[in-house]
């Protein structure tokens, strides 16, 4: 079959052809970018924190009328109180291990600073490497479920304590593999010395964990999302956080036992049922809620758009079939087979969709570039666009099939009837 008669027929419907190609172009542009956004969000949500997240939960509490952490005596009293809490939690029957920590990954509450292999580098100096600190104790590795890949874990002798707003030397630290690689690109980090927050006091890296995400999920933290530092120091203030690993499958039981256990140690504290004891699953859900929401929203938009476009093609082709009822009859009477009529409409659609996708690719890339300049967006991989093009052509063919088949069923006798 030659293309000539199809093109000639299309010329008679210029406006309709332009509109449907335009619609296919718009659909392709929007769907490509929306699917790209969905892909990015799904990738973000699925990145592992490095923790064993099952059976893990976080307790956040605040003492009332507690001593001030600004004077040394107050710090000592607060530390005693914190140790009592830790002991009470460790004694719970469903609890496997407990570690104090100022934060956990995805919590969006962080203490960040910068580390450098040279002493005395100021915080503002861009040459340091940004990192997020986890202030914790010797139980941190089993509690968070971190994998030590080199060196050793903290021991009880490494653990110190300090007021939450104090600055204290950090003689030993454990860093994430990503941070170790950043600081020491060629070679082993264990045993090396680094300096944190512009200090001239050395910190020795005694261990490296495979992976540990920082608490921040905001865009400001993207640059150092995997640069974590563990410090064996309990922070003392009127406010503490405890990370608890329950025995396998006993998380909910352990969580419900926590308030009573802590109130028994000291009732003068704020510990509200909803916010104070949170499973890690909940922390993860709330951290990524916006991303999941955006992905769902984009998914719904794509679905509507594809349905509308498919329905539009069906509607418009049906009209054309109706309009050319008699011509089809004539062609059939002159010897065209059913399959020829079917192919005619399929090729016609392919041509229109082809023009649409060419325009659509340009629009998709243009929209992506516009989003890149105005919002945090990366360049769309061509694979997305290529898949989008194929999908668009396939949808066009699927949509045209029903009216095209109806056209192919027009009996030749129609040619003999007057309009």
């Amino acid at each position: 079959m030659t293309l000539h008669p199809i093109l000639a027929a299309l010329r008679k419907h210029k406006a309709g052809v332009v509109l449907i190609s335009l619609q296919i172009a718009l659909t392709l542009a929007i769907v490509c970018n929306a699917v790209f956004i969905i892909g990015q969000r799904v990738e973000r949500v699925n990145r592992p924190t490095g923790l064993d997240e099952n059976d893990l939960f976080l307790v956040t509490q605040q003492w009332v009328g507690a001593p001030s952490s600004d004077d040394p005596a107050g710090v000592e009293k607060l530390d005693v109180m914190q140790k009592e809490d830790l002991a009470a939690l460790r004694n719970l029957p469903d609890v496997a291990s407990v570690a104090p920590s100022n934060s956990v990954p995805l919590l969006n509450s962080s203490w960040t600073g910068s580390v450098s292999i040279k002493p005395g580098q100021q915080l503002g100096d861009k040459s340091g490497t940004r990192t997020a600190y986890y202030f914790t104790d010797d139980q941190v590795l089993p509690t968070l479920g971190l994998h030590l890949v080199a060196g050793r874990a903290f021991t009880a002798a490494d653990v110190q304590h300090q007021g939450a707003r104090d600055q204290r030397d950090r003689p030993v630290i454990i860093v994430s593999q990503a941070l170790a690689d950043k600081l020491f690109p060629q070679g082993i980090a264990v045993g090396k010395v680094i300096y944190s927050d512009g200090s001239s006091a050395p910190s020795t890296i005694i261990g490296v964990v495979a992976r540990l995400q920082t608490p921040s999920t905001g865009s400001w933290g993207n640059d150092f999302a995997w640069y974590s530092t563990l410090v064996p120091t309990r922070l003392d203030s009127n406010f503490t956080r405890y990370v608890v690993r329950a025995k396998p499958g006993r998380r909910d039981a352990a969580m419900s036992a926590v308030p009573a256990a802590l109130y028994a140690v000291n009732p003068m504290r704020v510990l509200d049922a909803d916010d104070s004891v949170k499973s890690f699953a909940d922390i993860r859900t709330s951290a990524y809620r916006a991303d999941v929401g955006m992905a769902i929203l984009m998914g719904v938009v794509c679905l509507i758009l594809l349905c509308v476009t498919a329905a539009g093609i069906v509607g418009l082709t049906s009209f054309w079939v109706g309009q050319r009822h008699r011509q089809i009859g004539v062609r059939r009477a002159l010897g065209a087979r059913k399959i020829d009529i079917l192919h005619y409409f399929q090729i016609e659609n392919l041509l229109i969709a082809g023009v649409g996708v060419v325009l659509g690719v340009l629009l998709a890339v243009g929209l992506n570039m516009w989003l890149m300049t105005h919002y945090e967006m990366t360049r769309i991989p061509l694979l997305y666009v290529a898949i989008g093009v194929l999908a668009m052509l396939a949808i066009g063919q699927a949509a045209v099939f029903v009216p095209a088949r109806r056209a192919s069923n027009v009996p030749p006798v129609v040619a003999t009837r007057s309009a």
Binding site: A15, L26, D70, G124, V270, I296, L297, V308, L367
Partner: protein, 438 residues
């Protein structure tokens, strides 16, 4: 005449119910998606204090110098204690307040109840008149209370409900962080979104309510620590909350009311003069690099409207556009198929205008039906944003009368626009040619 067009349009729509349904559905989905995302956008981009936002200003002082600036050369977005206190002492604006976020515990008088945690701000007395904060009972405290570091507190109606059963609690005592405070005022419902007076610490939107307001100097005196962000470009030399006050770490929000252009100019000169003095005295090793933005500009600068919201709106508008192109294509096919009918009408003396009126009426009816269905879908959409968006933002999106009217209006106008070209084509039909070919 309109009634006649209406009848013609309805008859035409009934003739092809499938196509009509398709067009109505297309319009409805397009409009509903746009309106749902728009309702979210409207909620987060609205002016939280429209009658006054152009008189409220946020000063930024560059106390960190070139090393602490972002890539865009912006000074820090909050203030250190030293500068905030100096600006308060100099008192150059009509009204002003330094403020910092606090999260103290409150111990209920009923000993059987556990203490609760509340959030709030330490502010100066001028905070309340400056932001037109509504009071249910009592009022804010006086400037004297500021200087006396009086143990007074303003509480929210929610906390008042919790502690005093909603009665007038002015003069009663509340235990905040282990110390007694006298209630001087109870706020009427006041929960501005975004939390414009302290965007830096609230991040803009918040599901909670501000429960307590204490005098700034009182909170400092009792060592009530700040609960928000603290940013440092050098480790504080001294430890503790007092060390923070002596450092150049930034953690204090600041707002000033300046009523006219002259006052704004004078205030800008004042803060630049201050930075210049600091340069002279050697504290700053750089020329003044201050900012003085009014509230809308400040909210924009702080990117309070999440970019996801903007991208969603944009994508939804793209969807609406695609739906309209689709409708235009279908209308075109439909109208041109009726060429012979148009030909007869034209031959019988109908002017082009009458053809226009007839077909635009038909398009308008589709728009109206699409809008009506769109209303329903928008309602469903807005109700379900709570499932997909973060709570602090989803809670703000609401269906109200203006949104409903806008939905209908957008739907009818957009569909009529989509019908313009098909109608134009229909009106160009040559009557003689149509009659002949029949």
């Amino acid at each position: 005449m309109f009634a006649y067009y209406l009848e013609l349009a309805l008859r035409s729509l009934k003739r092809s119910p499938g196509l009509t349904a398709l067009m109505v559905l297309t319009i409805a989905f397009g409009v509903a998606a746009s309106m749902t995302t728009y309702s979210v956008f409207r909620a987060v981009s609205g002016d939280p204090i429209p009658w006054k936002s152009s008189q409220l200003f946020v000063p930024q002082i560059d106390m960190w110098g070139p090393n602490g600036r972002g890539s865009d050369g912006e000074p820090p977005d909050a203030m250190d204690y030293n500068d905030a206190i100096t600006l308060m002492r100099d008192h150059r604006a009509k009204l002003q307040s330094a403020m910092y976020q606090i999260s103290p515990s409150v111990v209920p008088a009923d000993a059987s109840k556990h203490p609760i945690n509340v959030s709030g701000h330490a502010v100066y007395s001028e905070f309340f008149p400056m932001l037109d904060v509504p009071f249910l009972y009592g009022s804010g405290w006086s400037a004297d209370d500021d200087t006396q570091r009086a143990a007074v507190v303003v509480i929210s109606s929610k906390l008042n409900q919790k502690l005093f059963g909603g009665s007038n609690s002015v003069g009663k005592t509340v235990n905040v962080e282990g110390k007694d405070y006298r209630v001087v005022g109870v706020l009427n419902d006041w929960n501005p979104q975004p939390r414009f007076f302290d965007v830096v610490n609230s991040g803009g939107f918040s599901t909670g309510v501000e429960d307590v307001f204490l005098p700034f100097q009182r909170a400092i005196a009792v060592g009530l620590p700040n609960d928000g962000n603290t940013n440092c470009n050098a480790v504080p030399a001294e430890s503790g909350f007092v060390g923070l006050q002596h450092s150049n770490c930034v953690w204090i929000a600041y707002m000033a009311e300046l009523d006219d252009a002259a006052a704004v100019t004078a205030y800008k000169q004042y803060i630049d003069g201050y930075a210049h003095d600091m340069q002279q005295s050697g504290r700053f090793g750089w020329a003044p690099n201050n900012r003085l933005r009014d509230l809308p500009a400040w909210l924009d600068n702080q990117h309070v409207v999440p970019s996801d919201t903007k991208v969603s709106l944009l994508v939804a508008l793209g969807l609406l556009l695609a739906c309209l192109v689709n409708t235009a294509g279908l209308l075109l096919a439909k109208f041109l198929r009726r060429s012979s009918e148009i030909g007869v009408r034209r031959a019988l003396g109908a002017p082009r205008l009458a053809i226009y009126a007839q077909f635009l009426t038909e398009a308008g009816i589709i728009g109206l039906a699409g809008g009506a269905l769109g209303l329903l879908l928008t309602g469903v959409g807005v109700a379900s944003v709570g499932w997909v968006l973060p709570k602090d933002i989803a809670a703000l999106a609401r269906v109200n009368f203006s949104l409903l009217m806008l939905t209908l209006l957008v739907s009818v106008i957009a569909t009529t626009l989509a019908g313009l070209y098909p109608t134009f084509r229909a009106s160009r039909v040559q009557p003689a040619w149509q009659l002949k070919s029949n």
